[in-house]
Amino acid sequence: MKIRSNWYLVMLFAVFMLVLAACGSGEENEEAETEGETANEENAEEADNEDSQEVNLYTSRHYDTDDALYDQFTEETGIEVNVISGNADELIERLEREGENTEGDVFITSDAGRLHRAKEADLLQSVESDVLHENIPENFRDTDNQWFGLTKRARVIVYHPDRVSEEELSTYEALADEEWEGRVLVRPADNIYNQSLVASLISINGTEETSAWAEGLVNNFARTPKGGDRDQAKALAAGEGDVAIMNTYYIGKMLNSAEEEEVNVAEQLEIFFPNQETTGTHVNVSGAGVTANAPNPENAVKLIEFLSSEEVQDEFSEANYEYPVNPNVEPAELLQSWGDFEEQDIDLTQLGENNTQALMLMNEAGWQ
């Protein structure tokens, strides 16, 4: 009897799971159909009838704001957006494996180096679009029009005004000087933002000089690199170090955090745009390209055009604290409050070309 009742329990559990699963998959389909199209059912049906009215996205950006923008795109065009989000390098590998059979139309990632790598692997195709040419300045798109920048991120120096005055700060290069010994905070070397910063310095100053710089910087580390960008900000507030290298939009996010104490931390800190007198502040982009074997290339272009439009660019800036690439769009108020700045003037593809060298150099310098 006892044994039997156990079996009922198991069966019950199994049935429960199956019901859940069945509902789940059913719901999922419905969801997919209506996802983009909550308001306009007719469009959804249209999209259903015409197979080609969709665009498939491989993205390594995972923001809620992005999802909302895709919904808006579907609403405006009737083209459904299907998404797989994942790690950029794994998505590149997946595209490569799928070859000409891929279902992916658009590849989006948040680093120019990765976009370049996808291009090098022949995973992207050239796109001729007046809209894109108009919306995106030349230095933020690929020379062969294989990828297009959508948002900019500036990697800056953040400092604690109690311990550092603005006059002391000048360039990335200067952070390797002796006066900063034991005062510099930055996250680990495996982070792509750091690798791209070093890659950009390699193109500007050359390998040897950058190598020496990295060694000097490592000597000045306040602690073993750890955590994410936000953790560097917290360490600044806690007095573990005096300056931190980080992306501006993390400060934006902390200022708008759900947790009060994070807001307090961010409010104590100041942003400094380095290299204003010299080579400009390091800027990276997140961007998109149409895949080489895209089944829906027209829709893919439409989506990228949409993402570069003024309305969407404004949203990127307002909701995610990134700088718009579209010159007609003003950055969000918060971003404006940090002031204008000169950007590094280098070909962004070099971030990709120098990536391996950058990491090797960091490893050799002992940047963990």
Binding site: S5, N6, M17, H62, N87, R117, D190, K234, L359
Partner: protein, 543 residues
């Protein structure tokens, strides 16, 4: 055929099915492993000089310390709840499994969040007591910190397996030791631990494999390990061949350690089977002993479950309004669906294979059995690459058969993900089923055969029924693991397919731990329910 073989052979239905299934499962891995033997790329020198040496040392020290601490915590807890009676024992018995429901990387974010500058601890000290202490006191982002995180969230593997063993095997040995004048502590070290060696090794090897494969915790903590090296090689050098080479080395180390343990065990036998199994009679504790035991078991539960869950609840409360949308229900369903389907598939395959390998003799079944662990000893993201290659290959075959009009069928469906889960978590299901078979031995099977039933009949009427607890525990362990799984899910899922763990990752990856809390809590909840069912089932099952 005129007569039936005494044992199934590789050519019989059972054997062929088992070997075939395992072959299918290791095929994608083999797709990759052939690359291990390719000549070294130009990056290899750099990798060897600047990554391997240091990374190797860190990796080994994290794995060894975590292994030791999980054994210490897991076995003592299992021993205390089996041999002693103290307040809350009944609840703790299953509650001590719960830390397994929290993915270690979420645990790492959570603990760091509790302890960092804006965390509740420092905030209270600072804002209420005006204390500003050195950050060094609150820093867990180092090797000891990682060992703590892994131990506190992975020890349940050791706990679960050894506790089941104590309950079923060791009673008369323990009584016998006590009659011979051995006190409780001595009995534990001289008899209980050595006798449970096989069970402990089974548990701790799951822990160590999980640690070796981890990328989330170590990369967040800025610790360089073998898996950091694998991913840096892959991502930054774009050199997936070298990455696979590294994974191959990692796998070789794992295999070496497992074999070494087998070798050290020598001809001693640790399993002790008897027809008469009495449950261990727990001894009631009083006074300071009671206080110490309640304190110890209680604090492990607090650290491994209550504290992180309370912190997650607090964060979830901050973000619930805008994070929990109606789509969330579908994420829960997706998670439960893939986890239960794959867990069921794993259990069925594990039973087939284990039943064959225990009955057949020779090199083929022995190798077949060991191969099941292959998928668990390679980082998930690397397996994913093998699985994609394999499915694209299958799809191409399909296309040539069906004509050019068709497109990718299998590799864009959820089947690919399910298949990958089966490869990855086979080891866990198989370990459980195999130990179940070991426990019941061959005698009942043989009895059934003498009563005129064939292998197949015996299998369904006797074998499967006898190992029900093992089947159930295998299912639950795999189920919980798949709920937490990330790298495979991320890369192999079909379009628009979100699960709880991809949702948690989506935010945690961008350092939005408050937003990640809601999905994390749902993972904990679903796993918790599954584990509770597991517990009630095992408790009711007569030993």
């Amino acid at each position: 055929m005129k007569f039936k073989h005494i044992r199934p052979t590789t050519t019989s239905g059972w054997g062929a099915a088992a070997v075939f299934l395992v072959a299918i499962l290791i095929l994608p891995t083999l797709f990759l492993l052939v690359r291990v033997f390719q000549p070294a790329s130009e990056n290899w020198d750099h990798i060897r000089e600047f990554m391997l040496k240091d990374y190797f040392v860190d990796t080994i020290s994290i794995a060894v310390w975590t292994g030791l601490f999980s054994v210490a915590v897991g076995t003592t807890l299992a021993w205390l709840v089996s041999a002693y009676d103290f307040p809350f024992r009944k609840t703790l018995k299953w509650a001590l499994l719960l830390p397994l429901a929290i993915p270690p990387y979420i645990g790492a974010y959570t603990y760091h969040g509790i302890l960092d500058y804006t965390g509740v601890v420092q905030m209270t000290l600072r804002n209420t007591f005006g204390l500003e202490l050195s950050q060094a006191y609150f820093d867990i982002m180092h090797i000891p910190g990682a060992v703590f995180i892994f131990t506190i969230f992975l020890y349940p593997y050791v706990y679960a397996i050894t506790r089941a063993f104590f309950a079923s095997q060791a009673t008369s040995l323990i009584e016998s030791a006590r009659v011979l004048g051995s006190g409780p502590v001595q009995t534990f070290f001289r008899v209980v631990l050595p006798v449970s060696r096989a069970a402990i090794v089974a548990g701790v090897s799951l822990v160590v494999l999980e640690v070796l494969n981890d990328y989330g915790v170590v990369s967040y903590f800025g610790i360089q390990t073998f898996s950091t090296a694998i991913f840096q090689t892959w991502f930054s050098f774009g050199d997936i061949d070298a990455a696979i080479k590294l994974a191959g080395i990692l796998m070789a180390i794992v295999m070496f350690i497992l074999l070494l343990e087998k070798f050290l065990r020598g001809r001693r036998k640790f399993s002790y089977s008897t027809t008469k199994v009495k449950p261990l009679k727990p001894v009631r504790l009083y006074g300071w002993k009671k206080a110490v035991v309640v304190g110890y078991t209680g604090s492990v539960f607090l650290l491994g479950f209550v504290i992180p869950v309370v912190q997650l609840l607090y964060w979830a409360a901050l973000t619930f309004d805008y994070i929990f949308t109606k789509e969330f229900v579908s994420y829960i369903w997706n998670s439960t669906f893939v986890a239960s389907v794959s867990a069921a598939a794993i259990v069925v395959i594990a039973i087939l294979v284990a039943n064959y390998t225990r009955m057949a003799k020779g090199i083929v079944p022995a190798v077949t059995a060991r191969l099941t662990i292959l998928g668990y000893s390679i980082p998930g993201a690397v397996i994913a690459v093998g699985v994609i290659s394999f499915f694209i290959f299958l799809d191409e075959q399909l296309m040539t058969m069906l004509g050019a009009s068709s497109s990718l069928v299998l590799s864009t469906s959820v089947v690919m993900l399910l298949f990958a889960y089966v490869i990855r978590f086979m080891a866990i299901g198989y370990n459980s089923i195999e130990s179940g078979f070991e426990k019941v031995g061959m005698k009942f099977t043989e009895a059934s055969r003498t009563l005129g039933m064939g292998w197949t009949e015996t299998f369904f009427k006797v074998d499967v029924k006898l190992i029900r607890p093992a089947i159930f525990s295998g299912f639950i362990l795999v189920f919980v693991d798949i709920l937490k799984e990330l790298p495979l899910t991320l890369i192999l899922r079909p379009f628009n397919f979100e699960t709880l763990s991809t949702m948690a990752y989506r935010y945690a990856n961008d350092e939005m731990i408050q937003e990640a809390a809601v999905a994390s809590l749902f993972i904990v909840m679903v796993s918790g329910i599954a584990m509770y069912l597991f517990h009630t089932f095992i408790e009711k099952e007569p030993n």
